[in-house]
């Protein structure tokens, strides 16, 4: 089996398993998995950036734009189905990145990280001071239907869960294909040696710009899905701690596979839920300790456990 076939098989199995679990899972678990997969989409974008050699501490910007664009489209355009709202959120975030990328694509390392953080904090500041968008309180977002199915119906009530799982599947598969394409292969090349990429006839800035737009689109998609799942959005989505959490998950899970961000996101949400329940005052300590352990013992992330086992078997 070729690696891309293997990924397709693995992802398809994961999708089927996720969908099959829907009727059995308790409500809190459905919610937890949905939110995790939505955040996993943002981390998937970070994976692409990290493979390009960039770490963004401002993905919350696109996450919030995706959510606010979906919410605004529901209010203003009277869109009632979830799918078009998600598409609007994705496109809005990608569009903003296409513009900001003109500047961001010139920077690397800490300057890139801080500039992306600065943009996200500007949006946070704007949202907090915009009464039309609910200021600090934000506003409620709701889709009446998912792919035409009523959200109150017997199948429709799993709509957000199913849609998020389907989006995660399509995005992971698409990114995997992209990373194996001629254009996608330039990401690690840019990370390793920009001079050589230019001397082979490709524009490093265009590669970085394109990857920024893709990553932002994924973050926007995650933001829109989060908005529809939670039913409420607020400026916290653009706050730097939200962006920091995405980087946290990316490091926790590793960049070894397009499935890793989703596994990492589910794991973090589980860890946080249990830590919060059993140690409500020191849950950050538990989460921080887990991070420390990963960095010390698994610098390539949790996914490296899986790769190592596969390597041993081969």
């Amino acid at each position: 089996m070729t690696p891309s076939r293997q990924t397709l098989g693995g992802l398809a199995a994961a999708l089927v398993a996720t969908l099959a679990l829907a009727p059995i899972l308790p409500k809190w678990a459905l919610f937890l998995v949905t939110i995790s997969l939505a955040k996993g989409l943002v981390v998937l974008g970070l994976l692409l950036l990290m493979r390009t050699g960039l770490v963004s501490f401002g993905q919350g910007l696109y996450y919030a734009i995706g959510a606010y664009a979906a919410g605004t489209a529901a209010d203003v355009l009277k869109l009632r189905d979830a799918l078009p709202l998600v598409l609007v959120g994705t496109a809005a975030a990608a569009g903003v990145a296409a513009l900001l990328g003109l500047l961001l694509a010139r920077y690397r390392t800490i300057f890139f990280a801080m500039l992306s953080l600065a943009f996200s904090m500007i949006l946070y500041g704007l949202l907090v001071r915009t009464p039309a968008l609910g200021s600090t309180d934000g506003f409620n977002v709701a889709a009446r239907t998912v792919l035409g199915l009523d959200v109150a119906g017997p199948v429709g009530r799993f709509g957000a869960y199913g849609l998020t799982a389907a989006c995660a599947f399509v995005a992971a598969l698409g990114l995997d294909r992209f990373l194996r394409s001629r254009l996608g292969r330039l990401a690690p090349a840019v990370r390793d040696n920009e001079l050589r990429v230019e001397y082979m006839g490709a524009s490093v800035r265009n590669v970085v710009h394109l990857n920024l737009v893709v990553a932002a689109g994924l973050a926007g998609m995650g933001g829109a899905l989060t908005a529809l799942t939670v039913g409420h959005i607020d400026p916290e989505m653009a706050y730097w701690t939200t962006s920091g959490e995405f980087v946290f998950v990316a490091i926790l899970s590793g960049t070894g596979s397009v499935a890793a961000p989703f596994a990492g996101a589910v794991l973090l949400e589980l860890l946080r839920s249990f830590a919060y329940e059993h140690a409500p005052n020191t849950w950050q300590l538990v989460v921080g300790g887990a991070m420390l352990a990963v960095i010390l013992f698994l610098p390539e992330g949790l996914w490296s456990l899986f790769l190592r086992r596969k390597g041993a078997r081969a």
């Binding site: 294909r177 992209f178 394409s181 001629r182 254009l183 996608g184 292969r185 330039l186 690690p188 090349a189 990370r191 390793d192 040696n193 001079l195 050589r196 990429v197 230019e198 001397y199 082979m200 006839g201 490709a202 524009s203």
Partner: protein, 258 residues
Amino acid sequence: MSTILETAGLTKVFGAVTAASNISVALEEDSIVGLIGGNGAGKTTFLNLVTGYLAPTSGTVRFQGRDITGLAPRRITRLGICRSFQIPQVFDSLTTYENLLVGLGIVALGRKAFVGSALGDQEPEQVAEEMLERFRLREYRDAPASVLPEGVRKLLDIAMALAVKPKVLLLDEPTSGVSADEKFALMDLVLGAIRADRVTVLFVEHDMDIVRRYTQRIVAFYDGKVIADGAPAAVLADAGVRRFVVGDVTPDAAEGTC
């Protein structure tokens, strides 16, 4: 034969240092030319000027009759001039095969629409396999470039330059860092692989035996200037070249060699 690459009055000044002074050189299509000169003579500066890494203070570079002075390296690469590096510039985390594939993929991208070809590739993979064979890199196919021996990295660096299908190839000291007994084998391999594509080659070299054996013409630099240009035997016999480049040790010449 017609001229493919031509510089006229190429000059580069860094503050008080003149790294290139009024260099006028014309390369005939399909020829192999050696570029010699002591350290600091301006050889690498010349390559950097021709490929657009540095903008000249004055003078012009013409490629196939077109003025390419001041264009960015990637534009010049796309027109058909590529280079290898004295210190191999490879993608360390990628395998030998993937290193070649990146360059071949860029060429394939350039031919078709930018996004349309992002999916579905076939041809570059075959060419990469064929290049591994031609450059005898097969046994290193799946090894990351970071662990390759220096001589193999050197070879890969040159193969990557050739992967973008240049019409003119500039090699910056292809045999530096390669042990003396392997130099001829490396040059046989490299020039054999290159000549199959009928590429014009200019290579910078310090080993006079290599230059004498593989070139049809030699250009000698000293202190940013061309001091000799012609048939190998004539250039290597030139008094100035013997004194400043080859380094024949006569008491009054010793200071000029470094």
